[in-house]
Point group: none
């Protein structure tokens, strides 16, 4: 489906760690585990996970302290964080959320609920690194350089494919011509004015589908 999302879990109880790891891995996530806050911080810096699940009660640093430290790192400022806690203590839960977490779950862990919540959180995030993008009947596979529309494979040339991939990576967003040139052609290469148009035309022709909209004087955008 997509390049697997990385999830870091920190909990001092090996059992819980294993249960969560097993369930998330079964859903296709890439899971990294840490036994305490310090290890979590170290691993987070190293792997830059998409989501961090922190137990609140851990020896050494608590989950909330760990969270605060993680948030000081530029690359981890936006990372999703979920707290786990045995306590159903309202004050702790509120402090957890206030410290910049995105959710708070109380033990006992119900794996299916956890997974649903994880998926709900990811749904809100950008899908930039996805190697397969689907929009309605259109499937773009960046790994095999294939487009499939309603079951039929469509072959695009490299530049055409890269151009479509770029536009489809953020449906609705208008890409300026400069933006497109930098992303697809690079900053070094200089090509003529009509080059983009011609490629756009070929894509529209091959797909035979009205999914690229011209915004005159601005650029192009992808939308179904």
């Amino acid at each position: 489906m997509s390049s697997p999302k990385k999830i870091l879990i920190a909990d001092d109880e090996p059992d819980i760690l294993e249960i969560i790891q097993f369930n998330l891995a079964a859903e296709g996530f890439e899971v990294i585990t840490a036994k305490n806050g310090d290890e979590a911080i170290e691993l987070a810096k190293k792997h830059l996970p998409d989501l961090i699940i922190l137990d609140v009660m851990m020896p050494g640093k608590t989950g909330i302290e760990t969270c605060n430290i993680l948030r000081t790192h530029p690359a981890l400022k936006e990372t999703l964080i979920i707290f786990l806690s045995a306590l159903s203590d309202e004050g702790t839960e509120i402090r957890g959320l206030e410290s910049g977490a995105d959710d708070y779950l109380t033990k006992p862990i119900r794996p299916k609920i956890l997974i649903s919540k994880v998926i709900a959180l990811f749904r809100r995030l950008k899908k930039e690194n996805e190697s397969i993008v689907k929009h309605g009947d259109l499937i773009i596979n960046k790994e095999s350089y294939l487009i499939n529309y309603k079951g039929d494979d469509i072959i695009l040339a490299r530049k055409e494919f890269e151009l479509l991939s770029l536009l489809a990576s953020k449906p609705g967003k208008v890409f300026l011509r400069n933006e497109i040139l930098n992303q697809v052609w690079g900053t070094e290469v200089i090509v003529g004015d009509r080059t983009i148009d011609v490629h756009i035309r070929k894509i529209r022709q091959k797909l035979n589908l009205d999914c690229i909209t011209t915004v005159k004087g601005v650029g192009y955008k992808f939308e179904l």
Copy 2:
């Protein structure tokens, strides 16, 4: 976003409705209430809230059914949704999250937890959608170069869009003609006196909405 966040609550129990309304209003949110799913759908289309809180168990449409209908409306596709339920039924909770909700809370409602979660959701959303400006029923999306009024997309030409964006960036502020020229046309270009008027007229015509006020001898301002 500038204006206070709008939250729509749907629950058939007046007590719960009142408790939630009171607590959210105390935090500065603008709260709208509905007694059932149908009313929620109607009010949602009318007010385009930023967050919708749905009770799962309601007479008539359930919260999940309501959610699914809401999601079919273009302007409500991305709206945050939280479910409330007395049931601590795992299956229902999972189905709720799968139907596109962002969180699921079980009753009894703990107001402070609810508020924390609401704030956490808005905090996460803000990082993504900074290019979208809302004023009442009017949504200006700088990323897709689209104006949306009461669910309908309106296409403005570049200059028209930039002009409206500028005025709407500070509702109530009167922009002098010079100010507008510098911001939209730049200091290099020199255009005639009537140019701004003509563009203003086109915007008014396309939006068919009285949101730009002429301040004679001074300039223009945006207000609903």
